[in-house]
Amino acid sequence: MICFTRRSLLRAVLGAAVGVAGFASAAPADEFPAGPINMLVGYGAGGQTDLVARAAAKVISDQLGVPVNVVNKPGAGGAVAARDLMQAKPDGYTMLFHSNTVVNSASFIMERVDFKPDDFEYAGMITAYQVGMATQKDSPFDNITEFVAWAKENPGFSYGALSPEARLYMEEIAKKNDLDANIVPLQSGSEMINALLGKQVVLAFSGGIHYRYPDELKTISALTTFRHPSAPDVPTIEEEGYPLGMDSRTTIFLPKGTPQPILDRLGEALKAAESDANFKKVTDAADIPIMYLGVDEAYQEMEKTYAKNKEIIEGAGLAAN
């Protein structure tokens, strides 16, 4: 919302006239926050990330003593919300709670998205996505190596993919081992669960919701650089010799130029979520591990994953930009 009120304009003119540069700028950080904060979420209401965002908003609101309004702005995997955030005032009163994939992988995959880590400021990261490969509990393989051996005997198997990254994984594994895969396009996480339980596909890419079905489904590979807290015995894809681990975490984004003290204040408030009982109840219910990173660590994580994902996705010949 571009909204120049007459008063702020007047103040800016006055400020310039008097020659006090800071006079017209936003309130100093020690007063932050003086009013309600809007927290954008790039997914629709009721989804997994939305629930985590609302729980985090509650914690931040308690910490800062002001209301935190959650505003759902779904569209293009969060790119619409991120673009809107870029145009917001860098005063800490508008932030985005979203997966960092909107910067570190959408930029390479979506034609019209080209965010760089330096386009935003980060107040921290709070939870990680347990992205993995899931299959039925009774499948005759427990990791990628065993799967490849099985797939050589069973050409034309079906693999469920719900994103370009999901296709990338199977295409890379198939290329390296000369497998014949039928990649079935899926639209959503629930459709993926459906396809697995109905045995329409033998293997599927999952953003982590398959952990809700511990009696029917198992994980054969963690597609991250760390082993999943929900399945510590399952090796990561990197451990099995494919350097394709791509990490994603829920991150608090702020517009470029937000003052450091405001970032620190928000980062501190977010840190409280790490030990908050209600927040843990929400994340535990959905098998989402809490992995807090502070302001500086979050920026480093962003830079690191951006460079790594760029290499992986461009290496696979998939990049759009």
Partner: protein
């Protein structure tokens, strides 16, 4: 209605052909080998629309020749005026939303529509936006804990 059918048939056929030959090839990439082309379904639908639109034109022309011309258009003057009035009210509301605030936009929408539809009692023109916008404010900011930005 026959005249209108012929006109809408011609418009639809042109729309279909433009889509088929100009928009689809330029705006949809052909897609990778080995899977169904992303152009297939839109193109199929435009072929169906163009074909049926031509059929619509032919049957209506034939019917008209048989029974002679008719008077009147299905889109009456008052309907078009209503469309323009409501369009103008929305245009005003959107401009106010972009330049001023959602609140002003909401008030403009209600007051504009009331006036455009012939309501003149000042009591109603003031009370209705106040009541509706207060209810919305309560819903969004107090009950839902969200904001209109």
């Amino acid at each position: 209605m026959r005249r209108a059918n012929v006109t809408s048939g011609i418009v639809l056929a042109i729309f279909g052909l433009v889509m088929l030959f100009a928009v689809i090839p330029v705006h949809i990439a052909p897609g990778p080998e080995g899977v169904m082309s992303p152009r297939l379904v839109p193109a199929m639908m435009m072929i169906v629309v163009t074909g049926l639109a031509v059929l619509l034109v032919i049957t209506n022309l034939r019917a008209e020749r048989r029974s002679g011309p008719e008077a009147g258009s299905p889109v009456s003057r008052s309907a078009l005026i209503a469309l323009l009035k409501i369009g103008a009210v929305f245009a005003l509301a959107i401009v106010l939303y972009l330049w001023l605030s959602p609140l002003a936009a909401g008030a403009a929408l209600i007051i504009g529509a009331l006036v455009a539809l012939g309501e003149r009692r000042p009591f109603v023109i003031v009370l209705m936006p106040v009541a509706l916008l207060t209810a919305l404010w309560l819903l969004f900011y107090k009950l839902l804990g969200t904001a209109i930005v």
